[in-house]
Symmetry: C2
Subunit: 745 residues, 2 copies
């Protein structure tokens, strides 16, 4: 067996070779642009000493959290790297170029580590940029709205460009190196990215909401002091939480969505490449994404140069439309002149259409201008209970609409590909739909980043007692960010479903399943259990927030009762204590839900076989999507219902309606910021683990196809080792917890 | 073609002939016993004039509601009867005895009407018995606990015996008449029963919770007056609601569960009978059920004669255990000496085990003695929001446990039937599991009925100012009823899943599907949409309650503001006005969710074909089960968390904790009493409509098998007619609404 790298590359036409090189160059350009923007952002003034001090405290808290988190994950990543290596080794027999299995194992493991590294990096840098931008935005708000907006937008663009650049670079380099063996490696890359994203989402989500709920319950509800009042000991933890949840968690999550849509499209594309002998099935998605990066650079740069005064938002929207136009034109050009097949154009365009419709739906169910939020706010007149029920009613409805839209986009893809019964084409079309949908990720993240940054800037302004004019500007920025944040979340979840469906199809193809027959009892049993997973995961996440918030409430109450002069404002609370509690709690609560995602498909696969595992996956996708959208939209609607009341409706702040709305908002918070968005990486982790681990569950048989291993001594050993991993990780997490407690002293 | 009735009967062995006759006799005995108990109950004294007056007002309200409801349903039942006739006609070609298609059509239509009649009758009589027992229980509580308990138990036993008797009678008679053609007719019988149950559950659920929420919001929350205070104008409507929701709705629903488990077991059993030439596949489930009726008669009668003082509850439990023992022994005897196959015994015993485990789970998640409710109550210390979140967390968890238990019972069934891949045996085993699980329906309903009856008696006691000693007895009775009520609900939902799974298998067999392949895009699309249906249905139900409660709140407020002397207690409120509002609102809100259930499978089937329809059904079963248990248990846990606080925990009544718990209870009410339990008939209506309507979607081809019709002018016409039914029913419901308004003047 010889080692064969770059073998396939020689097969490509001259155009394709240059195209691949161009894609790498564009990806690098995106990263260069991010670096360039970073320099610019850091050159902005950071305000007076007081502001810098608070910003520093936030930064210290945020980085301490990520450090602890990465330390917690480290061992698990090492163990899983070995697992990934083994799966690659087992799958190595299917190498097209007869590469030795150990090479495939190593490559898949390398891909896994790269994916994890990239995902962690995007989260880390994204969060740090936000934490450097916050004081700068606050300072700029003293001058003008446009200046503050620019800094926030720019900081967001940095994260956007990192996401685009690293996602595209990783996928393309793996493809160039391994060509037809690339799927084997790409799975590792995808898994690494989603795994980190899952950790960052869950950990960040628990942190941010525990701090938020804890701060609000004592501050706003019990003591009646405003949000971000410096006497509240949880106020810095709350600010840190915005960063670790809405920045680090969100950035890693979107990176992962971006990456997995590429991975799934490439895997299905490569099967079609082998079938048809045409390389464009795999190069087209990369080209489209490169065009997306390119258009993001142009459009975000153009925003920087135009717009004065309050018209800046229009400039940003113009930039978005410009990017969309460039992208659609590029879809057409590549489809027509490279693939000579307009179906590629239609499939990716459906993705853009899906993004637009999801945006509209999210906006309808969560923004203050439409019926649902208005009705929810109105029902506050009869108290918290009716408000909550109204929100649940609309939330249920919204998730149905969303699932119908996704179903329609699958129908659209089927129509484009000739409504044939050939599974592969249709699911490749669905993958392209996901590619199209996330083309403008750079712009989306740039717009999305206002939320947490403005929130932080607002907090700094409150704590340093900044002038009302600047506060007004920051509040406006925050409102802009809230809308874009909800939209990004909606798009991310829809893309999760498309990517997961494509992976589901890849699973079916890779392991040569003849059917996924729901009437087989094993399939049906696995299907029932699969439906339970998203509920169990959400239950763990929500209760984790509750438990952590309980500790914080007690700590803040204790400080109010025991620190002399705190209430009068002559003494300072011990902010770092609350930060430590949040960090420790998030670590402690993180592992159970994450391990559920990793272990459940492995156990199901070994117990009931591959076909049942596929049934399990389908149920996870369905129920995960339904729950995720329900929780995100319901939470968003409660948030905005509260906002409309705070703007003066039904008695405004302090009224009974407002109190009812605050209850709604507090219930909605962990739904929309912890459990809901974390289902997005969950769905994909479970799908990827299944595709990866399945190679351990089958033996290739001569003449093609597979035989399932079933429950043999070897597989039982694998299950036992899996369980040992859980126990080990639990033990490790407990140890981390005691570390965190020591740090705290 | 000759008309062939009773043809098959001659095939049966002498033992089987006598067995069938014995089953009919036992069913009739059950009905006779019900009539006997009715006479006894009506002989009890109904208390003084004031009590009789209130009881009369409740009775008038309840019957006016049912009258309006039956009028609303009437047209729809007529239209659907025609539809059922047509489907029978189309399916008639598969008659084993070459009966003419019109006969099959007529018979199926007759079955449909009989099912609807029986279901309506059980609901009507069950409710009326409760409404006659309420004042009698209140009066008896002046004497002793045991006497009050006896009357309640006896009234419940009447409903239980009706359920058993009519369910068994209908199924057996259809079988005797049509033998191997019986499945064609049984489908109609099942559909009629579930359809009425769906209407009664949804309508009753909306009524009861709108009245309850409305009464509480103004009474308890705004005015701070106790529950059932006679100055509250919604107080009679609230009492009526307990009857139409918890009695009529519940009785019709349990009847339907009982009936559909028989129907699905018989349908699968008949296929096996044809395959194996053995009649016991079909006679065994009937025998088991007859034994259940017999043991219910003996055990409930034994309760009547034993027990003195407060030991009465033990007597009831002893009765239950007695019934369980008789049943299990009968399972064994029939399996061993009639079928000569102990697998029958094991399969039905798994059903009993399932009932026990579900009972344990429901108890764990909703009763005051275990961790979940304790934790939920504890989190009230930090306000309503944390209480609600804690409840959602545990509710999510509970539904996962429940789905896992159901999955395990399927695994158990598979193991019993040799873990073969023969779908039919395993799913027949699942159907037997459902048979076993509901064997003790008579006893369950007898125990379940305390809740609403005691609630009503309590209300009458409050309004007539009865002495504290009697009140205490009624409160204790109510507490007993709350536990049994939650358990019955849990068992009903689990049985719904088993019955639906069996119907799902029947669908697969009847239409000769080769596979239900999830990877087919049509199947996957239908599957996604199917998952949305329970959410949409629940959304409609919850929002309906919110809307209706809003009107009631306004009316009660208006009466307080405008009726002179009402607050001082010198004037009476206009109770009947609120009763009319509830009746009209429930009618108005009833049809959309019910039509969703009927129309969605027809549209999916015609658009995407039978295989896709099966995918749709699987998703409805899965998501329906998950949502139903989540909502029922969460609501139950909130209710009991409130109770523990009212019993003195965390400050007791009037404390902030209590206020938080009241919010939780109010949110939980429509979840546990409207949306959650209504998903039970919903799942089965959708499954039955699919099996029935599928005969319109296929054409039998010579030599066996079917060809799907697809979208032809005929099928498009069918869809259009379906849509017209919706519009027509809407129009009719609007008209009913105006009737109700006129009634109101």
């Amino acid at each position: 067996m010889s080692i064969t790298l770059l073998e396939g590359f020689h097969v490509a036409s001259t155009f394709e070779k240059w195209a691949l090189i161009a894609i790498v160059v564009v990806a690098l350009l995106g990263l260069l642009y991010a670096w360039f923007l970073t320099r610019q952002t850091l050159n902005e003034p950071e305000g007076n000493e007081k502001m810098r001090k608070i910003a520093n405290a936030i930064r210290t808290g945020g980085n301490a959290y990520l450090k602890t988190q990465f330390r917690t994950i480290a061992l698990l990543v090492v163990i899983l790297a070995i697992f990934v290596f083994l799966t690659g080794w087992f799958a190595g027999g299917t190498s097209v170029y007869n590469n030795p299995p150990w090479l495939i194992g190593l490559a898949r493991m390398g891909g896994f580590l790269m994916g994890a590294l990239f995902s962690g990096l995007v989260g880390y840098i994204g969060m740090n940029m936000a934490m450097r931008a916050n004081a700068r935005v606050a300072e700029a708000s003293r001058t003008s709205f446009i200046k503050a907006l620019k800094i926030g937008y720019r900081a967001g663009t940095i994260t956007g460009m990192l996401t685009d650049g690293l996602g595209l670079l990783g996928g393309t380099i793996i493809f160039i190196l391994f060509f037809e063996d690339a799927p084997l490696v790409l799975l590792g890359f995808g898994f690494g990215g989603t795994l980190l994203a899952l950790f960052m989402r869950v950990g960040g989500g628990i942190y941010t909401k525990a701090a938020d709920v804890g701060a609000d319950l004592v501050g706003k509800v019990e003591k009646g002091i405003p949000e971000d009042d410096p006497r509240n000991a949880a106020v810095i933890a709350d600010q840190v939480g915005d960063n670790v949840g809405d920045c680090a968690g969100m950035a890693a999550d979107i990176f992962e969505s971006y990456e997995v849509t590429i991975v799934s499209a490439m895997i299905l594309g490569l099967i079609l490449t082998i079938t048809t002998g045409q390389l464009y099935w795999i190069i087209f998605p990369l080209l489209v994404r490169a065009a997306g990066v390119f258009s993001s650079i142009i459009s975000t740069y153009s925003v920087k140069s135009t717009g004065e005064g309050e018209n800046a938002m229009n400039a940003i929207h113009r930039g978005y439309i410009l990017a969309a136009c460039i992208s659609i034109v590029s879809f057409f050009l590549f489809a027509q002149f490279y693939c000579h097949d307009l179906r590629f154009f239609w499939a990716t365009s459906i993705g853009i259409a899906l993004a637009v419709v999801i945006q509209f739906l999210t906006d309808y169910y969560t923004s203050t201008e439409h019926k649902p939020v208005k009705e929810i706010a109105k029902s506050s007149k009869t108290g918290a209970a009716t408000l909550l029920l109204s929100g649940i009613g609309y939330g249920y409805e919204s998730t149905v609409m969303s699932v119908i839209v996704i179903a329609l986009s699958i129908v659209g893809s089927a129509i484009v590909w000739g409504a044939t019964d050939n599974v592969l084409y249709i699911f490749y079309g669905i993958a392209l739909c996901g590619i199209g949908q996330l083309t403008l990720t750079g712009n989306n993240i740039a717009m999305d980043s206002f939320g947490p940054i403005a929130d932080n800037a607002n907090g700094i302004a409150e704590m340093t007692g900044m002038e009302p004019k600047a506060r007004k500007i920051l509040a406006d920025l925050d409102a802009v960010g809230n809308t874009t944040k909800a939209v990004t979340k909606g798009i991310a979840i829809a893309s999760a479903v498309l990517a997961a469906v494509a992976l589901f199809a890849a699973f079916y193809e890779d392991y040569d399943l003849k059917t996924i027959n729901l009437i087989q009892w094993k399939v049906f049993v696995a299907f029932l259990i699969g439906g339970g997973i998203p509920f169990l995961f959400s239950s763990l996440a929500i209760r984790a927030v509750g438990r952590a918030a309980f500790f914080i409430v007690n700590e803040v109450r204790w400080q109010f009762a025991n620190i002399k002069g705190l209430w009068e404002g002559t003494a300072e609370p011990d902010y770092s204590k609350v930060v430590s509690i949040c960090t420790a709690a998030a670590q402690k609560e993180l592992l159970t839900p994450a391990l559920l995602a990793i272990v459940s498909p492995i156990v199901i696969g070994f117990l009931f076989g591959l076909e049942a595992l596929a049934g399990f996956l389908a149920a996870v996708i369905l129920v995960g999507q339904l729950l995720a959208v329900f929780m995100s939209n319901t939470g968003g609607a409660y948030d905005n219902a509260k906002k409309t009341i705070e703007d003066g409706l039904y008695g405004g702040k302090g009224s009974d309606s407002h109190k009812a709305a605050v209850v709604g908002d507090t219930v909605g918070d962990p739904l929309k910021d912890t459990a809901g968005p974390a289902l997005n990486p969950l769905i994909k982790v479970i799908n990827l683990v299944s595709v990866i681990a399945a190679s351990l569950m089958v033996v290739p048989i001569a003449g093609g196809g597979f035989r399932e291993v079933g429950l043999t001594p070897v597989t039982i050993t694998v299950i036992v080792v899996g369980l040992l991993i859980i126990v080990g990780a639990f033990w490790y997490s407990k140890k981390q917890e005691s570390f965190a407690k020591e740090d705290d002293k």
